[in-house]
Each structure stands twice: as structure tokens, then as C-alpha cells.
Symmetry: C2
Subunit: 360 residues, 2 copies
């Protein structure tokens, strides 16, 4: 019965990060996960929640205080108690540990799965199958990650070095590797036995908090104190006291890497069209081009191209002509106009972060 919800499973959705390489679409006050980046009518957060809905009715979103209201506005199915607002960003370990501690304090031991609010998944059915398999391995006590079958020697992601098989669809993780250079990535793909680390973790709350108690005891005791106060009038006071003391560390470094060394991390290999849309180049790749080769998103105005292959136009409000620039990317918002190319899209964060100034 793979279509029914998974008993005792809670989905955790960390919703953080501005996505500054998608500026000016993304801005601190409208981060990437709140955007309808694909022009589908739904934000990435909404698509994430929709994708998880068949797996469980229980979803917890962890986001910054500045965005809690916007998250609730976009997700009418969520109650305020299911949106955990962080007073300040303290990286992914604190966020996920907080969710785990609140879930366990409220409901007792559960399996949680953590899935970022700003990823794109083209085949949600295959994704959910992978999660179901992962929950099975988590129930056995593993920290389970989902390893995405690499389709190219990408240097944008970390890789999972896959070890011995455990159960059907599940293997041990030998180790995690940092983002490789191109040559290393090509060698890994040739050799096989590697998957992209999509940053998805499925784990029993007691396993997560137990490992944390051993590896990052300050975080473990801190989130347990906060969780105990969360649904009481003391929440703000305890948060104000404890939250700023939590170590800033990613879950990969805090739990996954040391856990793998101890044989406690497993991986479910899957292929479901996963994309981390870091900048306009991968965004253009997942969108369909029109007959003239132009990718158009939310363009009110006519877009014409001359001697320009693979143009991307987003939000354009005035008739636009692109002449002689392959891969040109033109993005218009209410307050900014960006002109770049797919191959320069990584540099866009410079425009996002440098303060505006008119030369004298």
C-alpha cells in the first residue's frame, strides 16, 4: 500500500537561505523558497509541501522569524504550531535538531525526514518511493540519506561513496566527499558507486538526538531545553537564552560524516529528476524552451532573439530584443533589471550582495 501515509513519519522542511545567485528574483525579503521559480503557479516551498503530503499529514517547517508569516500565508494547510521560527540562522544541524526535539517532545519517538524547501524534483512519485524505503532503514536505527544517481560529473554537489548493500535498495555509506573538481567527478562517475548528496536525511528522532548527544552535546541539550519550553509561555525567554549559544554546523559535518565512519549511515539510491536550482543556468535547464529556443517565465511582453541561442527571459515587461548573445539571461523585477548569461550566472551573487551606488 505505497499510496497511504507512513505511520509515525514527520516531514521536516528547512526553509532558509536567500538564494542570492537568483537575484533579483530572490532577495532577503523574498527568499528563493517563497518564489514561483518555475512559473508553475506554486512556490518551491508549496511544491515541496505538495510532494510530501501523500507521505504524511505531519509537516514541520523550520524558517527564520522574518519569513514565518509568509510561510503560513503560502501554506494554509499548516498550523502556526507547525512552523518553527528560528530567531537567527544557526545552520542546518540546529534547525533539524530543533525540529527533532520538538517532534519527540510533542509526540514521542518518530521518524523524521528532512527535505529542503527550495529543491526541484521532477518525479515526485519516485521521490516518495525512495523516502518510504529510507523510513524502513531509519526504523532499523540508521541515519539514512538519499543518494541521487549522478547524470553528469557535476562539481556543484558533494558525493556519497556507496558501500555494501544492507537491504533491497539500501546500502551502507562508506564516506561523504566534498564537492569535487571536474576531473575527480569524472573519475568517480567512471568508477561507479557514487551518488550525489542531495542533503536529504531520514532518521528516528531518538537516533538523531542520541548521536548528537555524543557528537555535539551542546546542541542536543540546547534543543531539548528549547523543545520543552516551545509550547509554553517560556518559549521566547528560553529561545533568547539558548539559541544564540548553539554551534553553527551543517548536519553533514555534525552527524552524517562522523556517523558514516562508524557504519551508522545508510543510503537509498534513487533517480527522480532532482535539481538544486543554484543559479539561472540550472533554472533554464529545467524549464521548457519555446519553439524559438527562448525560455520564457512570467513575461508580459514580447521577447525576440536574433543570433542568440538559448536565451532566458524572466518577468520582462517591455518588448525585449536580444541580439547576438548566446545564453543571454534577462531578468526583470519591480525594482531591478539583470542582464547576464547562463555561463556567468554564478557571478550574479556579486550583484546581489554589493550595495548599489551611482558613480559620481
Amino acid at each position: 500500500m505505497t499510496q497511504s501515509p507512513i505511520e509515525g513519519f514527520v516531514a521536516v522542511v528547512p526553509a532558509g537561505g536567500v538564494g542570492s545567485r537568483l537575484w533579483p528574483l530572490s532577495q532577503p525579503e523574498r527568499p528563493k523558497f517563497l518564489l514561483d521559480l518555475l512559473g508553475s503557479g506554486s512556490s518551491l516551498l508549496q511544491e515541496t509541501l505538495e510532494r510530501l503530503a501523500p507521505l504524511t499529514p505531519d509537516v514541520v517547517v523550520v524558517t527564520g522569524v522574518a519569513h514565518a508569516e509568509a510561510v503560513l500565508a503560502q501554506a494554509p494547510g499548516l498550523t502556526a504550531s507547525n512552523v518553527l521560527a528560528e530567531p537567527s540562522p544557526r545552520d542546518s544541524m540546529a534547525a533539524i535538531a530543533l525540529a527533532a526535539a520538538v517532534v519527540e517532545h510533542r509526540y514521542g519517538q518518530r521518524v523524521i525526514g528532512s527535505f529542503a524547501a527550495d529543491h526541484v524534483i521532477q518525479n515526485p512519485g519516485a521521490f516518495r518511493e525512495a523516502v518510504r524505503t529510507a523510513v524502513g532503514s531509519a526504523l532499523e536505527g540508521y541515519v539514512v540519506t538519499i543518494g541521487v544517481e549522478p547524470t553528469e560529473p557535476s562539481t556543484a554537489f558533494g558525493y556519497i561513496d556507496i558501500g555494501d548493500p544492507l537491504t533491497p535498495g539500501v546500502s551502507l555509506v562508506n564516506q561523504f566527499t566534498e564537492k569535487p573538481d571536474g576531473e575527480t567527478a569524472s573519475r568517480m562517475l567512471e568508477r561507479g558507486g557514487f551518488a550525489w548528496n542531495a542533503g536529504m536525511f531520514v532518521v528516528r528522532t531518538d537516533v538523531l538526538l542520541g548521536k548528537l548527544a555524543a557528537l555535539q552535546p551542546g546542541i542536543e541539550s540546547g534543543v531539548r531545553r528549547i523543545a520543552a519550553a516551545w509550547d509554553t509561555p517560556d518559549r521566547e525567554a528560553v529561545l533568547a537564552e539558548v539559541w544564540p549559544t548553539l554551534t553553527r554546523i551543517a548536519i553533514d559535518h555534525a552527524i552524517a560524516e562522523p556517523g558514516a565512519a562508524q557504519g551508522g549511515v545508510s543510503v537509498v539510491r534513487a533517480e527522480f529528476g532532482w535539481r538544486d536550482i543554484g543559479d539561472f543556468a540550472p533554472l533554464a535547464d529545467v524549464l521548457d524552451a519555446d519553439a524559438d529556443g527562448v525560455v520564457r517565465v512570467a513575461c508580459e511582453a514580447d521577447v525576440r532573439v536574433f543570433g542568440s541561442d538559448g536565451v532566458v527571459a524572466i518577468g520582462v515587461t517591455k518588448p525585449l530584443s536580444v541580439v547576438g548573445i548566446d545564453g543571454a539571461v534577462v531578468v526583470e523585477t519591480a525594482d531591478a533589471l539583470l542582464v547576464t548569461t547562463r555561463s556567468s550566472a554564478q557571478l550574479v551573487k556579486d550583484a546581489a550582495t554589493e550595495p548599489s551606488a551611482t558613480p559620481s
Copy 2:
């Protein structure tokens, strides 16, 4: 007394041509010569008239009927009788011959000098000196052209092959050559004795019309008929009958080239920062860049560049960031947005001429 007007000299200013490689600034209803292309506060036509004013109070502008009103509005010093409106474009020979015939019919024999309304001249004093020298040669019966000292092996202009000296500053023209390829242009510059053909001609009206009677008798008799009727109630009727019959030919082919073969064409060599601003690349070259390397014209909004050298921004109304495109050219008008590069600027005419259509 080189500062006083030249006795008996009439300046003729052909004001035609849309300048479609400067689209969307230039459009059929607002051709290049009516534009303040340099952001100086004056249109190219106004700068042309201002440049000629110290040479003569007598100026005749030849333009299309659609633009006669705009020309008068921009040039309050002109009277309506000094704006000759062509019912349709019939190339430069018909336009200049019409002006010559009207001038001679009104005032008797004069020297006319023809100077396009859309050229840029950075040193007007040197230009006027060259014209004064040219008038002297024209009075001796020559068709005089002004040859611009080449500063680079340009393939955008025709060249003048300079022959024996005639008088100080004036030489015979051996022949005119079409726009050369790059190799030929380089060879000509190495060898020396060549000048750019800037399309400027100074000639006595009787010499011009006399040569025309021999070489293009249909044009000669036609413009004389029209000129006789111009200041009478018959103008429109005669124009309607005769104008459409005039051969479409450039003055270069009609008079200058065959005249040179007969030894009747002279050249004044000069250097006065002449530029025929054909597209956005030469436009950018004549404009001053700001400290950040950006050429800004009439930009209401902030323009920032990242990893982009030599950017040109014209008329931009919304804060613009250009990321990773060297030589990017961004032009905004009330009805269009153009994104191109200096090196692709020649292709802009495709955008100007292709009808707009949204792909289905």
C-alpha cells in the same frame, strides 16, 4: 578672415535614412538625425546646422515629407522654404540635385556643399577650414570631396585614391573605391595616399547640373522642372508627376566616380574627428565612459557592472546590473528594450526590421 561667412555659399543638408542599426533609439518616425544620440542636448541635425552656421546663413535641408515638420521644429532658424520635402526617398543624387536646382533657380549660380544630417564631427573648426578650402576648388570648376584622414583600416567606408596636388590642401582624385575588406584596407593604409570618403561634396550648382545633364539627363531635366515650380502653386502637381520618375542613384555613382575618371574631381584632405555613427559600437567609441568603464547616456537609473568591461547603457529607467558580458549594450526606449553587444551591434537592424510576433 576665416571667421566670416563664405560669400555665395549654400549648405545643403540631406536628412534621410532611419539608421536602423541604432534601433530602438531610431525608428521610422524618429530617424537617427532627429536624435540626441550623444546626450549633448542637441540632435545630430541640430549639431550639423550649428556646425554650418559660421560658414553661411543659407542652409537648405532636404528630407522626407514625414519629417519636414520635425525638422522645422528642431531648427527654428530655418524657414519653411528652406526645408525641401521629398515625396518619397529617391537616393542622394535626386535629393542633392533638387537642392542645387532650387538654389540656382532662386538665387542664380552658387557653390553648394552637401553634408549629411547624421554625422558626428568632433572638431568643427577644422571641418569648416576644410570646407573653405573646398569652396575655393569648387569655384575653379571641380566637384570637390572632403577626404578624411584614416585613423584605422576601417571596412565601413569607401576610400578615395588621392592623385596629384592641385592647389595648397587640394589634390586630384584618381578614383573612388568601394568599402574594402580588412586586408585591402590595411594595405591601403600602409601604402598611404588614401582617405575615407565621408560623402561630403562641394560644387558649383552649374557644374553639378551640367555634369548631371551629361551623365543623368533625366535627373537634370526633372529637378529643373521641379525647381521652376517649387515656389509656385504648381509645386505639388509637378512633384507628383516628375519625382517618381527620377532614377534612384547615389551621388557617388552618378557624378563622383565618372567625374573622377575625367579628372574633374578634387579632394581636400582633412582630419576633424569625423564619425558616421552607424551602430552602437561607434557610438560607444565617441562617448566618454564613467570611472567604472560604463558609457551611460540618458540613464535615469543606477547601472552596475560585474565582470563586464565596456558596457553601454542608454535610456535605462530601472536599476540595471550587467554580469559577465563584456561590451554589453542595453538600450531602453518607451516601447522597447534591446540587449546586445558592441561586437554584435551590426545585427541590430534585424531586430529593427523584423515584425514583432509572440511565438505560439
